[in-house]
Amino acid sequence: MRPVVSNPYLRVHRSIAKHQGIVWMRLAPVVGAVAAVPLVSDSLFGFLPTPGQAVPVDQWGLGLATVASRLANLVAAAVILHSYADMVRGPDRAVLDVHPVRARALVAALAVFTLRARLYLPVSAGVLLVPVGIQGSWLAYAGALGLIFSAWLGGIGVGYLVNLGAVWSAYSESWARVLDALRGDNPRMQAALIYAPGVALAFVGISVELGAIGLGAGLGGWTFGFAWLAIPMCLGAVAWAFVGRLADGYYVKASLLLADVDGAWGATENEDTAGDVYLSALGVGRPQLLRTLRLGWRSLRVHATGGWVAGILVALGGWASADTAVFWGAGATVWVASVAALMPAHDPPWLDDALGVDGFSVWRARLVVAMAYSFGVLAPVCCVLSLRHGSFFIAAALMGLATVCALISSTVASKFKDTAAWAYAASALVLWAGFMGVIK
């Protein structure tokens, strides 16, 4: 007999999951990771001993620690973005906005949802790491996997805290000047939300680096180093300890903040610029493209603004190392291109049928938008790669990756509709792995 769950939100999520049944498409990223393993092996695991060689783990442990820290950071970045999508902009908010909310219980249920629904991230990363166990050592594999799971848990705890903290800072008078200085053209209230993922990743990233140092040291013979793998997870636990109190004060207020942000964006459209959105000049005379640009900006804005933020951060981080720029630049490129795959979930499914819209024009418009949004990553990263490192070929290859990602993202959007994001996630993993292999 199943235990009685006292949290009503957990129970309702369980009922929803039961009615939805098993969504097999959600396994797509893991399948994608399996397909990506042979592509990514050479580029990620060049340090591993070749079959038949007996090289002690302490001679390649540092190489593994570097790869594990990169994968752990990618997983953390993804789950931090998911924590924003699940808690701040999640579907529960619209349903519950008119009812009394037990904020702590709700946020706990949302965190459980994030844990369950985003489990594909560490599992996919674990699949990518399998060559470490086969060619190297299963102990080393377990250590790297431990770091990734630790980062995943840390990302959820810190992500939830920082996203709620962002709402608090948006309402705080003492933060007003800081946010005004940072916000650019965005409404002040939104500035806090825009920078929240970066702040969360900075904290988790530091803890992941410490964990990676521990992994390297542990594989080098200092057994206590393995304990360091728990640092990101412990950081997440500490962060989670503060989530309840912030949830009480700011989960509900986040709805007010979002309404104000969306209203402020709406008000920027005066009579002269009505309908103007990011890159809307591309849509002049192309109604389908204009509609898609508007959908992208109004429903998936984080891909446009986040693309530039990610691109600039990658460029700064990649100033000293082309490897860093390529690894993260490719990751950011495949993420931004996911905008096309996410569009069907934000479009009324009956509209195109009712209007008799040509499917090819929708596909083409999504392709153009995905490519245009990718420019935010490509411009700064390709500048650094070509001007700073002289890697013109790699910069061109990154542009090629963006094009292929946009093509696939737009194609799966047409083919799979609501579940396109999962199909794209699988494809993106293979594309990213293949790209890393080619660049190697």
């Binding site: 929803i16 349903v95 906005d97 008119v98 509900v252 207020k253 104000d260 008000a267």
Partner: protein, 232 residues
């Protein structure tokens, strides 16, 4: 503490240069049934969103049953039963499951009574994703009514309902009012107000331009017709 069920003082909402609600005052005593009318874009929904704690005002104060909505929107929600203009429900729950869930959130209520009000019959065990717009609205109404909250705020809540269902809901609202509930109903169907409301508030361009007892309804109807006929 104010004895009014709904107290709005100098309520204003600006979006940049756009003034959606322009410093309105409104006091609704306990047990009143007030119709809120006006053309699309008059500011009704913005007012209701501020009243129900879904939108923060630029300035002014709003309280529900003595609770300051701006300071404590969470506490105000417990005293409110709200049907928003576009109700959102869990698509993968049945109406019965949805109403049971809301009943638990609200600390009690009569699920079967709410299902009867909604009049979904055997459909109450089907998933909401299979419902028509009217059935969804009935479910949202049942969620708002199930715990018999002291204040009901209904934004176009009767839209999309078949005439029999609309009559049944109006009857239930009248009963709740007899029991002391306060109802604020935003609607374009003035005939409904004629049956149950004792006061009518007309909004235009973010301002209250008429606020009187039900006898002003004929004038309000005429005014709405005149404004409709005006070019934009």
């Amino acid at each position: 503490m104010s004895k009014a069920a709904i107290e709005i003082v100098g309520l204003r909402k600006e979006y940049g240069r756009v003034v959606a609600v322009d410093g309105i005052d409104l006091s609704i005593p306990k047990g009143a049934f007030v119709g809120l009318v006006g053309h699309n874009g008059a500011g009704k929904t913005t007012t209701i969103n501020m009243l129900t704690g879904q939108l923060s005002p630029t300035s002014g104060a709003v309280s529900v049953a003595g609770t300051d909505v701006v300071k404590d929107p969470g506490a105000a929600r417990a005293k409110l039963g709200t049907v928003p203009e576009h109700p959102t429900l869990y698509e993968y729950l049945s109406a019965r499951e949805m109403i049971e869930f809301v009943t638990e959130l609200r600390g009690g209520g009569d699920v079967q009574w709410a299902l009867n009000v909604a009049g979904l019959g055997s459909a109450s065990d089907r998933l909401i994703r299979e419902y028509s717009q009217g059935m969804r609205r009935k479910t949202a109404l049942a969620c708002a009514l199930v715990s018999r909250p002291p204040v009901l705020v209904l934004d176009e809540a009767l839209n999309g309902l078949d005439p029999a269902s609309a009559d049944r809901v109006v009857g239930v609202l009248a009963e709740l009012r007899q029991d002391g509930a306060t109802v604020l109903l935003s609607t374009h169907v003035l005939d409904t107000l004629e049956k149950v409301a004792d006061r009518v508030v007309l909004m235009e361009h973010g301002k209250i331009v008429v606020d009187g007892d039900i006898s002003v309804l004929a004038g309000v109807r005429q005014r709405l017709r005149e404004v409709s006929a005006m070019p934009d």
